[in-house]
Amino acid sequence: MFYSILFPTREQYDEPRQTDVPVCFKDLNLDQVFAPIFKAKKDFPLEPLFYTPLNNSEVITYRQNIMHELADENLRGLFSDFSASIYRIRQFMNSLRSAMSSEDRWSNNYLARGRMLDFAGRYCHTITTLMEKLSKQTFHAEGLLRFKNYLATYCASDAYQSLTSRIIRLRDNLSTIQYCMMIGDGTVRVRKYEGQTDQSSRIIASFEKFRQGDVKDYRKKLSEDPYADHVEAAVINLVANIYPDIFDDLNRFCSKYFQFDDETIFRFSQEIQFYLSWHDLIAPLRSAGLPFCYPKLCDTPDHLYNSDGFDLALALREKDKIVVNDFELTAPERVIVVTGPNQGGKTTFARFFGQVHYLTSLGVCVPGRKAALYLYDNLLTHFGREEDLSTLNGKLQDDLERLHTLLNQATSRSILVINEIFASTTVSDALLLGGKMMDKLATLGAPTVFVTFLDELALHGPETVSMMSEIRENDPTERSFKIIRKPPDGLAYANHIAKKYRLTYKELGRRIRE
């Protein structure tokens, strides 16, 4: 039986969800990644879904399969229209139902009943349209298959069938009505229409012959909605007097079908926005040629990789200038140490590593052409912060305190991202502390990215992988933003930049001799 498009079972659905922003969001710029989604989908409560990482591979796979199937743009359009319609209908019906339950003739009148008929009609149209379109669709994802079956059963039910046929009959009858109003001296009189001539067509016929070309359209966009509902309701009452049978039928319809909408379908229309919003977000990046994939979920950290990945928050800002990067950890490797010149893309690389893990735990597709990622229990980050003068703690102390907390929380199943730590101390202190930290990381065995200016740490041991931001030989000032596996080499950049300005030893020697 189908219950939710986000969770395979009702029990999983009922598990508590996070409502606060996870702490790693700021460091990994995930707040920037999700902001456009929350902004575009204000009507839907998506925040807890994106705030709650899963470590249940059954649920993640359930979502990945659905997300994958929804890569089809037409299918997404279908669900997007459906979701928006059902949402609107539900909103209006909620307020309408309370109006129609009241004794007040001002709100409980033919206009209210007309609106209910209207929404019931839209509801059926929305459901039937989706049903027809889905019937042509072959699904592989379990969640979508189950929803499709649910919908088919619902549509075939007697209750739904009689609802639709009743609406059609009422509409047919109402469309036969054409009446005339004679308005004058504050009074509206109503009779059936009896073929009186249209004034404007006479005028058009008389003057059309002078036409020289296109002319302006002087019609105003006037609302077809009544200005004063009570006058309109009174006029419809007069019309109802002329057509009593049709309007009696409408009254009976309204009491019988007061609650016509289905809860499971409503829930689906809300939940599907999780998938739609994600695809909406990444669609422009995909068309710009950036790859996304569904990572293999790994229970051990023995072989983790991602090829052609990137920092999603950066890509959303500058999709045309994005440089893709790879990482790979093969046992016994656990810790990637990133060194190299500033502004070379080191932090971006660290964020990319953290982001793809977090996103994987949501069940969405992640940056990269191909990936295998860790099914972690906790994602911990430590990014060097702007010095906070309000606290008396020095930066080094602050760094150490945070690092201590982080390492206490971490298990071998955690993911760690540590960026530019110990930048505020002497090199010898930093080396000492960094070395100690590397020892701890080695023992812990959790997959880690560590960005540092200390070359020595990149050679800590067999668990360490050294990566560097790449420097272009021909123009060192031009950054490539590529992070590659390479032994640390802090002098490379300085040499290249000197060459460009003809200030190398050899060059200077020749220039001085000339």
Partner: protein, 490 residues
């Protein structure tokens, strides 16, 4: 309803993209003075005549159609001027009526449109009157078709019908509106209906009714909005009708403006006792030209007196090289040819006693720029780039008039550039009139049989006659004359 006085079967289009080189033609041939004289301060005439002059017709029958209409206009100047005046008066009356179609209030658009339509109807009646009175005096297809159409379309019955429609719309406080049921039972598709004979007071008095409460302001406003919705289409129809009529009078004015402009110019030139004639236009392939008393119309208008004219008769020539003394009338001569060609090809008379010339697809001019302070070294660049732009538009059976072109560099260089250009053009059947000082250039064509050499005449006494006569280029320049005249006079 179309007037079709400019073309037998289409409107005269003022909004067409300006032709390439139009501004250069107007400046080089000094057409502004001609246009001013035609317009007599009427902007419409100036605009229409500018477009007409700068878009030469290529079909003999199109030109003949305009010539025939123009001959008729010259025979019936008063009737043509009166028709034009009606179009001008209409515009004035509409402007001074202070009624605007575009209003934020529909009811205002509605009543303004009715008032404007009344003005238009009265002016239509004036047009009918002229048509009735003058149609027998006209012989041309263009004017006869127009006046017949006015009589047919603006019949007494027609005026009776439209007047009664406007009357019906203006009166009555009861509005009859039809409606259908919308998606939530609200009334939609409001249509203002005519009260038919069956819609008696008695019948409606006992229909089911609803009266709004005395202090129900929202209700009262609702009723007003119902009327707005109903008159939306009608107000639109009325406003569009007014716009159709505005367009109709504009169109009529546009089609008549050219003929009134020609009447004005003809009157002025006749007062100066300068001849005008309808040109004899030969097919595109022809390379023969002949004229008598061809003069620079613009110069006559400026001097407000008779001016020097020229005669010529040539056969099978495609290159005319004009050399000779400075201030000997060469530029004037070149302008008179350009003017005559353009005037002829828009169906006008030309400033000559008689004028025969081939049709040309387009006319281009490449005149030396008198002064160009913005450039110092780039003058030849400028000339070449301007030439290159023209070449983008050149084709067989066009003509181009050069005035002192490529003289911004030394003679040998200029001559060689110009010679190559000229040779390429004439071999591609482009007719050239070239006023030049470049002796090497001019003499390079001495053996060319298609070349007609002309020279500013100088009598043996050294005096200029300002006549241009056949004659090959002479090596000596006449600048020394001028030098003497100016420097040694004292």
């Amino acid at each position: 309803m179309k007037a079709n006085l400019m073309f037998r079967e289409k409107d005269f289009d003022l909004n067409a993209e300006p032709r390439f080189g139009q501004d250069a033609l107007i400046a080089d041939f000094e057409l502004n003075r001609v246009l001013l004289s035609m317009a007599r301060e009427d902007q419409m005439i100036e605009t229409v005549c500018t477009v007409a002059l700068c878009c030469p017709l290529r079909e003999t029958n199109e030109i003949q159609y305009r010539q025939e209409n123009l001959r008729d206009a010259l025979r019936n100047p008063e009737a043509v001027r009166r028709l034009y005046e009606i179009t001008v008066d209409t515009e004035k009356k509409i402007k001074s009526s202070m009624h605007w179609l575009s209003s934020i209030y529909l009811s205002s658009t509605f009543s303004s449109a009715i008032e404007l339509l009344k003005i238009y109807i009265s002016m239509l009646m004036e047009l009918r009157t002229i048509a009735d009175r003058k149609i027998s005096d006209f012989q041309s297809d263009g004017f006869r078709t127009l006046l017949t159409m006015l009589q047919r379309e603006l019949s007494d019955d027609y005026f009776a019908e439209i007047n009664s429609q406007l009357k019906e719309l203006k009166e009555g406080n009861n509005t009859l509106i039809s409606a259908t049921i919308g998606n939530y039972l609200q009334g939609t598709h409001y249509v203002l209906r005519r009260r038919e004979r069956k819609d008696t007071w008695w019948r409606w008095q006992f229909a089911p009714s609803f009266t709004i409460a005395p202090r129900d302001d929202a209700g009262a406003k609702d009723l007003a909005k119902r009327r707005d919705r109903a008159i939306n289409e009608v107000a639109n129809a009325l406003a569009q009708a007014a716009e159709h009529l505005s367009g109709f009078f504009d169109m009529l004015r546009r089609e008549l403006a050219f003929y009134v402009g020609c009447l004005n110019l003809s009157d002025t030139l006749q007062a100066l006792e300068m001849p005008i004639c309808f040109p004899d236009l030969q097919p595109l392939q022809s390379c023969d030209r002949s004229w008598q008393n061809l003069y620079d119309v613009s110069l006559a208008l400026m001097k407000n007196s008779a001016v020097v004219s020229n005669n010529l008769e040539t056969t099978n020539k495609s290159l005319y090289i004009v050399t000779g003394a400075n201030q000997g009338g060469k530029s004037t001569f070149l302008r008179s040819i350009g003017q005559a060609q353009l005037m002829a090809q828009c169906g006008m008379f030309v400033g000559a006693a008689c004028f025969a010339a081939p049709l040309r697809k387009e006319v281009f001019s490449h005149f030396k720029k008198e002064e160009d302070s913005s450039m110092k070294s780039g003058k030849l660049d400028e000339e070449l780039s301007r030439m290159s732009e023209i070449v983008d538009h050149l084709a067989s059976d066009t003509m181009i008039l050069f005035n002192e072109s490529f003289s911004s560099t030394n003679e040998r260089e200029g001559s060689e550039i110009f010679r190559q250009i000229t040779l390429a053009l004439i071999e591609n059947r482009i007719e050239i009139f070239s006023v030049t000082h470049l002796y090497a250039y001019a003499t390079a064509f001495l053996e060319n049989k298609q070349t007609q050499f002309l020279r500013a005449e100088r009598l043996d006494t050294g005096e200029r006659t300002f006549q241009i006569v056949p004659g090959e280029p002479l090596q000596t320049a006449f600048g020394s004359d001028l030098y003497k005249k100016i420097f040694e006079k004292i």
